[in-house]
Symmetry: C2
Subunit: 279 residues, 2 copies
């Protein structure tokens, strides 16, 4: 692997670039992004040059798509017929089923490896890039059938040496699992904030504790990113929401009854398990 | 104010005792609690002696009820006919309407002042007590009609000198507001954890980020405390849950539509306002 292209030099793309350098990669890292993002990426050393997507595709052994989900699905068809022999395209999109299907429809067999780093920060952009962003975080890969090539092996080694915990699953399994652990919590946080401001009770912003701040932190997330995440995982997200509303309705109906305490106890146990499994 | 009784020497009660000492109070602080709690309270200096409830009532100018909501409502009737002239009973219960009604039915007019410190910690018990627990936190009081006496004035001064932001509202307003800012978030966090463990997807505990940890922190809360909080605020909590489910259903129906981004934007703005209003 001699040349890498990073498409979308934001927080994730630039952090991958910095991480790559940290693992000892000395080749060219071409950035494909907006002028502002390229300037920030060059300034922090996440990329070493910039090019158009077509130019980058002609030179890169590894193409890392670090754009929002909808943009990734616009980029993939543009790479059709443009890749070097043995080149690998991978992505960091938050949903996988539609992206992988898009890659299967447009790119040669074995040239695409779906990915999703479960990593992030409050700040966005290359200015906030961190070579340790993936350290001690799950990095999901959704490999297709068949043997993987040399670039794929190098890419996996890079992730491991950055301290990421590589987890493999199918695109379907990814989307069903993330619907529960990421997309549902996001919608809940946004809906909680909406419930409070719509109520019109002016004293709501006067009397609250740290619990409400925890529960509304995800509501600060960028709407642009979430629009395409939710739109590309609508079925699994809808199912998760329905299951959640069912539990909530049951809790409402058991207020004042013994059963409520049982659910509280089991939920507390599960919340503890999550903390134990934390990487 | 020469003698204070703290009924329930747990985290809140013992923190009030330590705070009282910090403000310069040199009188007796009588603890009424379990043997274990009394030992911990004496060890940390939150109380200076112990007594039965009846003995404490005969001697105390201020009686601070720091028990769970259901226990406070068991204690109040026992104080009927037991108070010294000019004595004040106040409480730190998480709901107010039923507690205040209980006090009105059992205690002389003007002898009860409902209270609720919006403060807490992960740890419980007098061992975790902190004289600064109420500092920079809202402390809600629900004063009744009529002029307040000398003990009430001293109590308010004590809260202010501990750095608490004293907020006044009616018991009804308290319960309606806390249903939104505390009871609803608690039920949501518990229901989210329940949805995840009931789904049975084993990979849920493998791939999650800090967002899920935030959203399930409240689910770690003690079931015993919450049983009586929810039972004594059932109507307001049910209304808040219904409003929340309505918003969530609307979000589900607008996935993939423009309207979803608008709700995300407004919710993000509200989440920012909460952070600006934080004390």
């Amino acid at each position: 692997m001699e040349t890498v292209a990073i498409v979308g030099v934001g927080l994730i793309g630039a952090s991958f670039g910095l991480g790559l350098r940290k693992t000892g990669f000395r080749g060219e890292i071409i950035g494909v992004s907006s002028e502002k993002a390229l300037a920030a990426g060059l300034a922090c050393g996440a990329i070493s040059s910039s090019a158009t997507l077509a130019e980058a595709a002609q030179r890169a052994d590894l193409i890392y798509l670090a754009q929002p989900v909808d943009r990734i699905m616009e980029t993939i068809p543009k790479l059709a017929g443009q890749l070097r022999a043995g080149a690998l395209v991978t992505d960091a999109g938050s949903t996988k089923e539609q992206i992988v299907a898009c890659a299967q429809a447009n790119l040669p067999a074995g040239s695409f490896l779906g990915g999703h780093p479960i990593a992030g920060k409050e700040q966005r952009g290359a200015d906030a890039a961190d070579s340790d962003l993936f350290c001690k975080r799950p990095y999901i890969l959704t490999p297709g059938p068949g043997k993987e090539g040399a670039v794929s092996q190098t890419f996996r080694l890079t992730l491991r040496s950055l301290g990421a915990a590589v987890v493999e699953m199918s695109p379907q399994e990814h989307d069903a699992t993330l619907a529960l652990t990421s997309h549902l919590p996001q919608l809940i946080s946004t809906a909680l904030a909406a419930t409070l401001y719509r109520d019109g009770n002016a004293r709501v912003t006067e009397v609250f504790g740290p619990g409400l701040l925890d529960m509304t932190r995800l509501a600060l997330s960028s709407p642009e990113l979430w629009e395409s995440i939710l739109a590309t995982n609508k079925n699994a997200v809808s199912e998760a929401l329905e299951a959640f509303i069912k539990v909530l309705t049951e809790l409402k109906e058991t207020i004042g009854e013994r059963e409520l305490a049982h659910t509280f106890e089991r939920s507390a146990e599960f919340a503890k398990v999550l903390r134990e499994r934390r990487l």
